[in-house]
């Protein structure tokens, strides 16, 4: 029987694969979005920056920044879910830039204004078919139980080879 892979080998492969989804995207770097991983669970993190402000009087995060943050969390979660099986079966996952799901539509619900603090988001793939996927995202700041925005998005899946 094959011995289980050492944990650091598994972690290193998962982190490298996740990073390959994010590194190549200039807009993710521009907004400063990072991802925290616990097993297969991802949390998107948007560290606060003055340039993200939309209303300087309140001040509040720009609604467009919140939308972009949630859309990014959804796309990365969906891409991550797509490659998880291949990655876990130990096979070498191709780390070259890959085709990303395309957003068909995106609906965002602003529940309260975004404070000048770090923001967090988690996405859940509610349906993932061969062609279409539906993803829901929740975002919060200081309290996990108090969402400041939620969104639902539909995506067109990239064509699979073979």
């Amino acid at each position: 029987m094959k011995a289980p892979e050492p944990v650091q080998v598994v972690k290193e492969r998962r982190d490298r694969t996740l990073q390959s989804l994010i590194d190549g995207v200039p807009y993710i770097q521009f907004l400063g979005i990072r991802f925290d991983r616990r097993g297969d669970e991802l949390t998107a993190i948007l560290p606060y920056d003055d340039k993200l402000i939309g209303n300087p009087m309140l001040p509040a995060l720009h609604g467009g920044v919140t939308a972009a943050f949630l859309e990014t969390a959804a796309i990365i979660e969906l891409s991550w879910a797509m490659i998880w099986e291949d990655m876990e079966s130990g096979g070498n996952v191709d780390l070259a830039p890959r085709r990303l799901p395309k957003t068909i539509d995106f609906t965002i619900d602003y529940l309260r204004s975004g404070l000048p603090r770090d923001a967090y988001a988690r996405a859940r793939v509610n349906r993932s078919g061969r062609r279409y996927a539906s993803v829901h995202v929740e975002a919060w700041q200081d309290n996990r139980a108090r969402m400041f925005a939620q969104a639902t998005a539909h995506f067109l899946m990239p064509a699979r080879e073979g």
């Binding site: 190549g24 995207v25 200039p26 807009y27 770097q29 521009f30 907004l31 003055d50 340039k51 993200l52 402000i53 939309g54 209303n55 300087p56 009087m57 509040a60 720009h62 609604g63 467009g64 920044v65 939308a67 972009a68 943050f69 859309e71 990014t72 830039p97 085709r99 990303l100 395309k102 957003t103 068909i104 539509d105 995106f106 609906t107 965002i108 619900d109 602003y110 204004s113």
Partner: protein
């Protein structure tokens, strides 16, 4: 018939709306310029910028950057409406992405605030690149109306 006073009020409203939009830090960072504003309508342009790319394989701008443009433009349309809200915030926004914006081209959003109640402003918006006959995205949204007309 519009009186001189109505005209002066409209001018004042448009000046306030223009200042409101031009004071948004994130809109400045993204290089947005207000190209038209008046009576519940606004047009804002955003230049192509390599920092806004969402798909490195194709150089296509990220949907989030288009959302930010649409949201900003929607807010500008609300602020310029004759019902003259003293401020506004987005309640919800739905964006439909019809096609990828052509890399290298500026994106222009046009928004119309087509109905305002005491509490809510309703907005439609369209984004195009240089091929203005084929929209890149459309949006509909509801915005809050802060502090009614005095």
């Amino acid at each position: 018939m519009p009186t001189d006073e109505d005209d002066a009020q409209a001018q004042r409203r448009i000046t306030i709306a223009r200042r409101f939009i031009e004071a948004i830090p994130h809109a400045q960072v993204m290089g947005m310029t207000l190209t038209e504003i008046g009576d519940g309508e606004a047009e804002i342009a955003m230049p192509y910028d390599a920092r806004f790319v969402g798909d490195p394989e194709t150089g296509v701008i990220h949907g989030g950057a288009v959302s930010t443009l649409m949201d900003t433009c929607g807010g500008a349309a609300v602020m310029s409406h004759p019902a003259a809200p003293h401020g506004t915030a987005t309640m919800d926004l739905r964006i439909d992405y019809m096609r990828a914006a052509t890399p290298g081209q500026r994106i222009t959003a046009r928004a119309v605030c087509y109905h305002v109640t005491r509490s809510v402003a309703f907005v439609r918006a369209t984004a195009t690149d240089e091929d203005t006959d084929n929209p890149v995205a459309t949006a509909t949204g509801a915005f809050t109306v802060e502090g009614g007309p005095s």
